[in-house]
Amino acid sequence: MPDRPDSGERTGRYLYAIGRGIGGEGLAGTPGLRERPLRVVEHLGLVAVVSDVDLDEFGEDGLRRNLEDLHWLEDVARTHDSVVRAATAVGPTAPLRLATVCFDDDQVRARVDQWHDPLVRALDRVDGRVEFSVKAYASEPESAGQATPAATGPGAGAAYLQRRKEETLRRERVGQDAARDAEELYAVLAESAVAGRRLQPQDPRLTGHQGTMVLNAAYLVDAGEPFADTAAQALSRWPELRVEVNGPWPPYSFATLEEQ
């Protein structure tokens, strides 16, 4: 890591997104992190959207400390998202991951150099398209009778164990049904989309939702397509699933670059 003089504030460049045809004027109404103005760094026909950040806060040590602070994380994530949404409104945009920081504009250009070809492919893929999220939850299987042992009588313990075993098998069957339903739902909705991806199901401790998430999917859809309506109509085929459709999102899940 290069030495930097300690005099004055150490600043870096926070990268929000790289796109095409994004002029600074289109972003004028959107503040960057800590209310700093957004700037664009143009290179090789692509445009990186950046703002200055204090390296005490966004340098390696600062990030390590701050990423553990949920309020900090939420604040940065929401600002990042609002900048990405503003950029998406102006031109095709590949969002960067949270907390991608360079020392200066030269390093920003070096990143654009390094990622150029996959970036162009990603931008071609998402141009004129938006992302929708579809999450499906299996209903909690209701218990078939109370599995408490009768207090007395010969064979009560064995009967209890038998009921427990049947209950476990029944729950497994319900889980398998839900997984199959989710698979079918994912495939049917993919027919109305340009592309689909399955993300890791979210932990119920994070979402606060009842029931097991059996599908956490993202779809890439042509802008203006009535995907939410189409999905709502398709959902009647799976009354056992509780489904949430959200969007449009910027195409976060479809602008991924593999690590170089």
């Binding site: 990423l67 939420e74 960067l96 991951r97 949270l98 999220s133 890791q200 994070l206 979402t207 991924t256």
Partner: protein, 53 residues
């Protein structure tokens, strides 16, 4: 819409996908670490810091 978006959905996208960060200041924050940090940070608020993952 942005304020209505659930934080967990946003982090799914901002941490799990998108352009990988490949260097400079945050070189040591690989994807796995970020996911772990995310879960710990979120669980801390949901359940309190005494429970570990």
């Amino acid at each position: 819409m942005p304020q209505d978006v659930a934080l967990v959905d946003l982090l799914d996208r901002l941490l799990g996908t998108g352009v990988v960060l490949a260097g400079d200041v945050v070189v040591s924050l690989a994807g796995v670490d970020l996911v772990r940090i995310r879960l710990q940070a979120l669980l801390m608020t949901v359940r309190g810091p005494e429970e570990e993952l």
